[in-house]
């Protein structure tokens, strides 16, 4: 995880300074461990140090860490282009909204339902599409993303354009998760779990199959790897991450509307993955942080901030086209 790079991470001089310590972090196991410990400590104290506003923003950044790590399985590990990832985020959020508000199900029981629904949607969309060349997946997922958003806009069960509101904050063993600080810690746990699962997946047999399919799917197939099944596994895994992100997004905000799940949202998540470095877990985390914290840190620039942010992103892509994080990633 990234430690020393949050202030000014979206600007270029900082980027140049970053490369050195980042490379050291990526290469040196001891330095990496120290970095992780420092980061965990920072995560624990952050709400006390930075105040409530920053806590809310950081919670949002952690949500994007989860989403970006999920999309990273699809894009980074398996090499598939998914342009409608927000759809799975929506599936998770609406599952919670509908089940808790309309059916009265306990929040925690909606989790498995959201996971299964997302997995099912992943199989329905991915099953036929992944047999074709990768380009088709980009087109179909783009369409799927819009279908989900427009359906949500037009169905009464999803609350039409105004969405669903009044989603209750959950209880966990007597702990009412209610304040921004509570949600911040909840998302810390989620992000850490997402990292742990990503690491395990990258090192697994399936992770190696993704690597081979990404490098040369014909060679992989010729060596006995079923490319369709392997890609589908990646797509469904990504879907589950996205849905879980959506579930907790919904209870955090208490209200969801179709516009939270637009194409822009999918692009933002994809940007986090590509910016940090596809397939590289610390890079993806850094990417998510930049995408969310960058515009916030540049707030003092007023109307110029999005322009400056966009130019910063362009410069990063120009000078580090394979992502900010050095090296070729976790998957060896």
């Amino acid at each position: 995880m990234a430690t020393d790079d949050r202030p000014g991470a979206g600007t270029t001089p900082a980027l140049a300074r970053l490369a050195g310590p980042l490379a050291a972090l990526a290469d040196n196991a001891a330095a990496r461990r120290a970095g992780i410990v420092a980061l965990l400590a920072l995560m624990v104290v952050a709400p006390f140090v930075f105040g409530e506003y920053a806590t809310v923003i950081l919670t949002n950044a952690l949500l994007y860490v989860v989403l970006a790590l999920g999309l990273n399985v699809v894009v980074g590990y398996a090499g598939l282009l998914d342009l409608g990832y927000a759809a799975f985020f929506a599936v998770g959020a609406y599952t919670v909204g509908i089940l808790t508000l309309r059916v009265g199900v306990n929040f925690w029981l909606t989790l498995p339902v959201a996971v299964c629904t997302a997995a099912l949607a992943g199989v329905i969309i991915g099953g036929p599409t992944l047999r074709l060349r990768s380009d088709y997946l980009a087109i179909v997922t783009l369409g799927f993303g819009e279908i989900v958003r427009i359906s949500a806009r037009n169905m009464s069960i999803t609350g039409m354009a105004s969405g669903l509101s009044g989603i209750h904050q959950p209880w966990l063993f007597g702990w009412h998760i209610a304040t921004p600080r509570d949600f911040y810690y909840l998302f810390c746990v989620l992000a850490i779990l997402a990292v742990a699962v990503s690491v395990r997946l990258a090192d697994s047999r399936l992770g190696r199959a993704w690597l081979y399919v990404r490098y040369d799917e014909d060679a992989a197939e010729a060596m006995g790897i079923d490319r369709v099944r392997v890609k589908l596994a990646a797509y469904v895994t990504g879907a589950i991450f996205g849905a879980l992100g959506g579930v907790f997004f919904a209870v955090n905000l208490g209200a969801i509307s179709p516009e939270s799940f637009s194409f822009t949202q999918s692009v933002l998540i994809l940007m986090a993955v590509i910016l940090g470095g596809m397939g590289k877990i610390p890079g993806v985390i850094l990417g998510a942080m930049i995408v969310i914290l960058g515009p916030e840190l540049l707030r003092s620039l007023g109307e110029l901030r999005l322009l400056v942010f966009a130019v910063g992103l362009l410069l990063i892509m120009l000078f580090r086209p394979s992502g900010i994080w050095p090296g070729r990633g976790r998957q060896q």
């Binding site: 190696r208 040369d216 014909d218 992989a220 197939e221 010729a222 060596m223 006995g224 079923d226």
Partner: protein, 242 residues
């Protein structure tokens, strides 16, 4: 057909295939017996590569059937066929750029779950191709053409194949390396691997093979024991362009 009494390991019956509306194979029959080297000859565009791709299901057969060890494999996926031990070393080698020689070899052993077997196979491949051992940590795509061919064959061997489909292993190699490659093919065969070899260099392939087929415009025009094909001057001139 060869008069050998053993049933064929691989049998193609009336196989047709093509790309879109273009038909590249018109109902070919072909047999390979256990332990043989059979070569498939013909000019560019005769359908040799398509024939191999159809056997390994990289191209779908539009008609006919492919039998491997008596089992109809026509409808199977390419990965399933590879898992049965019928492994295709495709034209162009498909070395994974950016991965080391060792990692490329590990891909070949992906379906082998026992790590001891994987290690043993790696040792065997390094024994067969010492140059891969020396360069095991280098990027596979930075090897020379001949070394890449060895890597492609070595990767296929990692899977422990019963039969190899070799598509022009000598393509683009210097004459000396062509001979080396052919020697390796012979050695693999002597070690028990059945081989179907597609080759441009007909003279060389016929010296190696037990039996040969000549493809022209997607049809088998001629077949026979390699020695007989080699002796027939008219065949060599008419079909093999030499």
């Amino acid at each position: 057909m060869s008069s050998d009494a053993t049933p064929p390991v691989l049998k193609l019956h009336g196989v047709s295939a093509g790309y879109g509306r273009i038909r590249a194979l018109h109902g070919i029959d072909l047999e390979v017996r256990r332990g043989q080297i059979v070569t498939l000859l013909g000019a560019n565009g005769a359908g040799k590569t398509t024939a191999l791709k159809t056997i390994s299901a990289l191209v779908r057969a539009s008609a006919g059937s492919v039998l491997f060890e008596g089992r109809d494999i026509t409808g199977l996926r390419a990965s399933e066929i590879a898992r049965l031990g019928l492994v295709h070393v495709p034209e162009g080698r498909h070395i994974l750029r950016g991965l080391s020689v060792r990692e490329n070899l590990e891909l070949g052993a992906f379906t082998v779950r026992d790590p001891a077997v994987r290690q043993e196979r790696m040792r065997e491949v390094f024994g067969l191709f010492p140059v891969l051992d020396h360069r095991q940590h280098q990027d596979g795509s930075l090897l020379s053409g001949g070394e890449q061919q060895m890597l492609a064959i070595g990767r296929a061997l990692m899977q422990g194949p019963k039969m190899l489909l070799l598509d022009e292993p000598s393509m683009g190699l210097a004459p000396k390396l062509v001979l080396d490659t052919m020697r390796i093919v012979k050695r693999l065969n002597q070690a028990g691997t059945t081989i179907l070899l597609v080759e441009q260099n007909a003279r060389l392939a016929l010296r190696l093979a037990d039996y040969g087929y000549v493809l022209e415009s997607g049809e088998i025009r001629m077949q026979g024991p390699a020695a007989a094909l080699r002796a027939d001057r008219s065949i060599v001139q008419a079909y093999l362009g030499e």
